[in-house]
Amino acid sequence: MTLSTAAPAANAAAPLRAPRRPRRPGNALAPSHRGDGRLAWILIAPAAIGFLAFAVYPTLRGIYLSFTDYRLLSSPTFIGVQNFVDMVQDSTFWSSLLVTVYFVILAVALTLAFSLLTAAILHRVTKSTVLRGLIILPFLISGVVAATVWSWMLDPQLGIVNVLIEHLGASPVKFLTSREWAIPSLAVISVWKNLGYTSIIIFAGLQTIPPTIYEAGRLDGASEAKMFFRLTLPLLRPILALVVVLNVIGAFQVFDIVSVATKGGPANASLVLQMYIYQKAFGQFDFGYASAMSLALFLILIVITFVQMRLLRANESDNA
């Protein structure tokens, strides 16, 4: 079975709630579902165990650990909101939150702008699967690989980027080893890695827009730019909302490229929150404090997601 582009449309149309089955007279529908209950519970048992053991339980335990002093070797002792008091007074926490927000804004804004442009152009110019395949390649390598390659390309002395900068007569830039450039450089790595992936998702969204709309627009004499802002963007809003939310959530939890490319340095200039949490938990074995920061990050993400959904009105579509 091939995945045609028509499939998602049909799939998206499937209602969230199961449709009520039409009851046909004389057809014994109810008996055909006799015994479904027991089978259903057997079938969902593995998922239910996973849900309880590795989603519900750790969530509750994580919240509990946030209110404890827990050094992993001894059992946790309840200390109330002490971790959160410490957090408010911890300048490293605030600086790492700031660093994270800076990274998120740079990485998401750039990824989104370039992905939207790339997808829109692909949509209007060519439907080539080969081209889409080529730009998706960075999605197929891990953050670790991406960060390693870019560390080499951005090396202060021998990296090709700095060699070219020197050829142009400028002085080399310490991309990953200077305070001012560390986060922008990490954002570039992240954009490079996510651009194709995000473009393809937006491209798929564009393909659900009926071409007749553009024909109508062209008959009215609308320019390409005008059609993009007046037709494409509004119709794309549900997909864009999803893409923004996913990108923001992902960027807030960035870890692997930071861990490999800068290790949070220099002097904590790229110490993102996830990295700081890791250091607290596995460097200093302060699991209580690390859990409290995780909870804080979780709450930040919930608020941001909620605000974004409201701003982008993700559930509504201008399609109707």
Partner: protein
């Protein structure tokens, strides 16, 4: 005279909308070519550096072709070169068990993907093709898990795996993600809800049981989305870094992502073995690139598909 004045202006206005898009198309193509070049250049640079002699490369950093062409970096990364040969070419002399990491990655990604897709399929079937009390309620509980990002569960899950004594084992690495995925279940359920029930009803008349219907009818009809989730899941697991970093403390089950990070950190700061590092990243990337050559179109469609769910 009026006609003569009107005609030229009409022809220019008719020509204009035809010419403008053509210029626009040219700019659009230039942009696309630049994007593709920017996307591909790091891959080329990986290959070029991996085929260079590390010492010669440092002396000639801007050469677009491999400097002092050699298979050395690949050989030393794969442990096929003697220490003297490696050091002569600018290697660190330290050995990296890259094939061991590669095998670990294959086991980790394959087992965890197979488990999660299988168990998600079972659950999705129960949530879509079976009628039972509490179905919608249980499903909405499951769905709520989509709201909780990994950040909150990672540390407690580590503590749990540690308490179970499963650190440094495949079981510990795989278990937390092997049973339950809200996204997978939601994705498959949406598709299964849209399936026609006529074949099932015919099978029912033939006396087929529900379990046989799942494997004989629903599963084959859902093969497209299942393959989508398998491919995306495998890619995701192959790239996983944070969780394996938490639950492994030695090389025994560490996957390639960890091995590569260790290799990079152990490379001497003063003069890193960039050629060897690039060879190692290529070895790490190769399985995915091969997967891409085989399933390229499917991967591209899967990604678009997953966004639309």
């Amino acid at each position: 005279m009026t006609a003569a004045a009107v005609t030229p202006s009409r022809t220019t206005s008719a020509r204009r909308p035809r010419r403008r898009p053509r210029v626009g198309r040219g700019v659009a193509w230039i942009y696309l070519i630049l994007v593709v070049l920017a996307t591909l250049f790091p891959f080329y640079w990986m290959l070029r550096s991996a085929l260079s002699n590390n010492f010669s490369m440092i002396a000639d950093p801007s050469n677009p072709l491999p400097v002092g062409f050699t298979w050395g970096p690949f050989l030393r990364v794969l442990g096929l070169e003697s220490t003297q040969e490696a050091i002569a070419q600018g290697g660190s002399g330290a050995s990296v068990p890259i094939l061991h990491y590669l095998l670990n990655s294959v086991i980790y990604a394959t087992l965890s993907t197979a488990c999660i897709v299988f168990f998600s399929t079972l659950a999705a079937y129960a949530f879509s093709r079976l009628q039972w009390r509490g179905r919608e309620l249980v499903f909405s509980f499951f769905l709520a898990a989509l709201m909780v990002p990994g950040i909150l569960t990672l540390l407690p899950n580590f503590v749990l795996i540690k308490d179970l004594g499963l650190l440094n084992s495949f079981a510990g690495m795989i278990l937390p993600g092997a049973l339950f995925s809200a996204f997978n279940i939601f994705f498959l359920r949406q598709f299964m809800l849209g399936l026609s029930s006529e074949i099932e009803e015919a099978a029912l008349l033939d006396g087929a049981g529900k379990l046989r219907m799942l494997f004989g009818i629903t599963l084959p009809m859902t093969s497209g989305p299942i393959i989508t989730l398998t491919i995306l899941g495998f890619i995701g697991q192959w790239h996983d870094y944070f969780w394996p970093l938490l639950v492994t403390s030695d090389d025994s089950v560490a996957p390639l992502t960890l091995g590569l990070a260790i290799f990079k950190q152990s490379s001497p700061q003063s003069q890193p073995d960039w050629a060897g590092l690039m060879a190692a990243t290529l070895v790490a990337a190769l399985p995915m690139l091969i997967l891409f050559m085989v399933f390229g179109k499917r991967i591209v469609n899967s990604i678009g598909f997953s966004g639309l769910k």
